[in-house]
Amino acid sequence: MESKISISNLDFFYGKAQALFDITLEIPERQIVAFIGPSGCGKSTFLRTLNRMNDTIPIASVTGTVMIDGEDIYKAGTDVVALRRKVGMVFQKSNPFPKSIFDNVAYGIRINGIHTSKADLAARVQKALADAALWDEVKDRLTTSAFGLSGGQQQRLCIARALAVQPEVILMDEPASALDPIATQKIEELVVELKREYTIVIVTHNMQQAARVSDKTAFFMLGKLIEYNPTQKMFTNPDEKLTEDYITGRFG
């Protein structure tokens, strides 16, 4: 299987404190990879190294390489804006802009100048909303504020917003952790659906969720990658004792 992202020997520091230790990992194209592990294990930090979102933290530093499609994204002269367009992100807490539903989804299209005409823009917004399984619920209220939507709808709006700029990879940082079970189920179904077109990396503290949606699972503890295997194997016959202890709930 083709690797979309190859991470080798990645170390991450907040100032002098090391948060990630020598991580090497391959993320296959058009698959779902889940990162699991106890709170503070570095899984979110690791996720955020993949679109350089940690750049916003002044004291953060990274060594090692992250190759996406064979390009090292930490190489000097990397176009971070272009990188983030290619590697989209959905956050733990839904964070729509204080704009209308339409303008939220259109935002990324507009700033990146993707559309060719007004009609094209509208078509792209519709497609993104449809792909995020939200179109039917919002098609009659596109011009109303995004804050009028429910929590689950807001999160799917954020997914639509990310899809609209046509990324190749989507990073999801505990996308359903603030949602009720029904909204969570919708997001999970959506994630599986999106695999057809996108490479997806999802951080979750919910092991059942990882088991349900992902093809491969990586288990992190204290900033180290403990085990990385196909999800099926991980949850039935893990290689590491630590993984088994975590999955069976002996700690965490």
Partner: protein, 309 residues
């Protein structure tokens, strides 16, 4: 049977109620006192007091229009100059500057707010006025002299000087409020924009969109200060009750008129005129604030995230 602490809570609530009521009482009392004391001119001139443009106390002629005009125009100049600068400083401090640079700059801005107004006035007389007379004014007349705003004799004392001094004086307060408002915008908004491939500038526009109502509030606060500022304006505006399109001409504001003339207003009708114009200032401030509140509400309706999150 009385519940534990019921009496204490009752007293506590009464004290709070009194505190809240005192504000209303003070406003009403001031308003009543001013109306009462300006009755002589209110009865004698009626609406003509507001529309009249002659102010000759010796002849018992009182037209407040030049002072209303001067107050509004000088405040407007101050806003036009101060708002972009304040926004620039605040955005720089919150969105761009590393903390090592942001701290000292923020400290300097706060220091600027602590300078007494009379010192601004002195600086206006001895530094700004000559600068406008010899440099800025000359420059403006050379290049924009065809505009009515920049015609006439250059003395260095006048509307423009007052506007610039006011701009300096309201910059710290607008900057400080805008900075607080920007800092209150959740980081997740910035990250959402960045994750979509937004540049720093585009991310900043998202932050500003979130902060719009707060920024409007900051501007209003600045306007309120500018309208009421007295000492520094008196020192540089020229204290001449005239309405002129030229910003180089001397003018006068309500606050400045009151400060300069109260001591010598001995006869009843003159005093009444001054109190009535004070009442006008009171009402102008009131209307400006009400308008601004409406503005904030209209912005807040669809763009304030703080309400919904």
């Amino acid at each position: 049977m009385a519940q534990t602490g019921a009496i204490g809570d009752k007293i506590f609530r009464t004290i709070l109620l009194l505190a809240a009521a005192s504000i209303l009482l003070i406003v009403v009392a001031i308003f009543y006192m001013m109306v009462q004391n300006s009755l002589p001119t209110l009865e004698r001139f009626g609406i003509g007091f507001l529309t009249g443009s002659e102010w000759r106390p010796a002849q018992e002629e009182f037209g407040a229009l030049p002072f209303i005009y001067g107050t509004l125009v000088s405040s407007l100049i101050a806003l036009v100059l101060a708002v972009p600068i304040s926004l620039g400083i605040a955005i720089f401090l919150v969105e761009q500057a590393p903390i090592k640079i942001a701290r000292p700059i923020a400290f300097m801005v706060e220091l600027l707010a602590a300078i007494p107004s009379v010192v601004y006035g002195l600086w206006g007389i001895f530094v700004l006025a000559p600068f406008i007379r010899n440099h800025l004014g000359v420059f403006l007349q050379d290049y924009l002299g065809w505009l009515p705003f920049f015609q006439g004799r250059l003395t260095g004392i006048g509307m423009l000087t007052a506007g610039i001094i006011l701009a300096l004086m309201i910059t710290p307060i607008i900057t400080a409020v805008v900075r607080d408002v920007l800092e209150a915008v959740p980081t997740t908004q910035r990250e959402a924009a960045l994750a979509l491939g937004a540049t720093k500038w585009e991310t900043t526009t998202i932050v500003l969109g979130n902060a719009a109502s707060g920024i409007a509030g900051a501007v209003v606060l600045g306007l309120g200060r500018a309208i009421g500022e007295t000492m520094a304006v008196t020192m540089v505006i020229g204290n001449s009750p005239q309405i002129s399109a030229s910003l180089f001409e001397p003018a006068n504001t309500i606050a400045s008129l009151l400060a300069a003339n109260f001591a010598e207003a001995t006869d009843r009708i003159y005093l009444s005129a001054l109190i009535e114009i004070g009442l006008v200032l009171f009402l102008v401030t009131f209307v400006v604030n009400a308008l601004a509140k409406l503005l904030i509400m209209s912005v807040g309706g669809n763009s304030s995230s703080s309400k919904h999150v």
